[in-house]
């Protein structure tokens, strides 16, 4: 009885949605997630519903399965094709009610096996061979390598980030090597998915940057056509980052907040991000209008 009461309360909370955004659907999806009955989850661990907007290209299928499997049970996937925003919002709310009632759940897409075969050898079942060798718990350990800043040869962590990372543009896959949180190596593995011109709308662009600055409420206000009402907005974005033909990330944020669209020449993406701290790199990416970013990433791929 207590459980069902808890479930009923839970069903009244905003539905936590993690969005995987397809080509041409970025603006629509971002506006959908700003609705009152929905909550934009920054990580699938916090979400119950995976919203797949549009037709995802075939090469993102595996990534989508990864994200899908990372959602805690019970969970549901909703595909958003041609529905009106009202209709999909209603579908999400129904799904969330069903999830809370325990009537809906999905199994993993991927097989339940570790990334590498491995058998524990330590006294508590831990470990691989030697100090750093083997694949303990299914993965090797990071190894040392050169650093670009201070010459300490500490571990390099290499991973592919994206295509469905909320702070990156949808579709962009970056293979990044980090030392600490500084980007030591960067490779664009897939460009962002094509987006229509409405993704460049000043309010959406401003909202993306505001969210990175920790101002979720201000982002909400901007998307509903109000003023941002935030303190220390300009000062928080370092002046020197993201300089592309005369405008910096800070200038572009100011322009967006004033309601102007910004167009910049497609920058040299790896050069812009190489050596940046992670926080700066994310600000730089968010300070580029999607159209410029897509052209920049395609240019890298063609080269």
């Amino acid at each position: 009885m207590a459980m069902t009461r808890l479930a009923r309360w839970a069903a009244r909370s905003p539905a936590p949605v993690f969005a995987a955004i397809g080509p041409g659907r970025q603006a629509e999806t971002e506006r959908l997630l700003a609705r009152p009955g929905l909550r934009r989850a920054a990580t699938p661990r916090d979400a119950a519903i995976l919203l797949v907007a549009g037709d995802l290209p075939g090469d993102t299928a595996e990534a989508l399965s990864h994200v899908h499997d990372q959602l805690p049970h019970p969970r549901a996937t909703l595909r958003w094709q041609a529905d009106a925003p009202d209709a999909i919002a209603a579908r999400i709310e129904t799904a969330w009610r069903d999830i809370c009632a325990g009537e809906r759940d999905e199994d993993d897409h991927l097989p339940d096996e570790p990334p590498n075969a491995w058998k524990g050898i330590g006294p508590h079942g831990q470990g691989g061979k030697g100090m750093m060798g083997g694949t303990p718990y299914g993965r090797p350990m990071a190894m040392t390598g050169t650093d670009i800043r201070d010459g300490l040869r500490l571990d390099r962590y290499t991973a592919r980030f994206g295509p469905f990372l909320p702070m990156l543009p949808p579709g962009l896959v970056l293979q990044v090597t980090l030392q600490g949180d500084v980007i030591c190596d960067l490779d664009v593995q897939a460009p962002p998915l094509a987006q229509a011109a409405d993704a460049d709308a000043p309010d959406l662009c401003a909202a993306r940057m505001l969210r990175l600055l920790g101002l979720d409420r201000a982002a909400h206000r901007v998307m509903h056509g109000q003023s941002a009402r935030a303190l220390w907005l300009r000062g928080a974005v370092p002046k020197r980052i993201g300089r592309i033909d005369g405008t910096s990330a800070r200038d572009r944020l100011i322009a967006w907040l004033a309601g102007d669209t910004v167009s910049v020449a497609p920058p040299d993406l790896p050069a812009l991000l190489h050596g940046a701290e992670w926080a700066e790199a994310m600000l730089i990416l968010a300070s580029l209008p999607p159209s410029a970013l897509i052209r920049a990433a395609r240019g890298v791929e063609a080269a």
Binding site: H66, L110, L154, D155, P163, F164
Partner: protein, 111 residues
């Protein structure tokens, strides 16, 4: 006595509460993978992590010792009067030199 008992008591209570509220975790291999927006990592995330402001951390450890002297100083400040102010002023001035030096060397930035 009461201080120690209260602190131990709250700690024990919090541990019990947190244990009671968190059911045993359980998940499959694909579910357990670290979140990278669909991407995959090459290695474990635990690593010889390059903590960038390491010089700052060392400076901090040395500077923070001054607190040990400042607390008892604060208690006798009023009764010792201007002498206390002068002595602590000198002490902090000496330490500030170290901070200025560190600033000049740029240790408060990510190395």
């Amino acid at each position: 006595m009461q201080t120690v008992i209260v602190i131990l008591g709250w700690t024990a209570l919090a541990v019990l509460l947190a244990r009671a509220m968190q059911p045993v975790a359980d998940s499959t291999a694909p579910q357990a993978m670290p979140f990278l927006g669909g991407g995959t990592p090459d290695t474990h995330a635990w690593q010889r992590y390059h903590f960038r402001p390491y010089s700052m951390a060392l400076l901090f450890v040395a500077f923070e010792m001054e607190m040990m002297f400042m607390y008892p100083w604060a208690v006798v400040f009023v009764s010792e009067g201007i002498k206390a102010l002068a002595e602590m002023g000198m002490f902090l001035a000496i330490l500030s030199v170290g901070i200025l030096y560190g600033w000049r060397e740029g240790i408060f930035r990510w190395q």
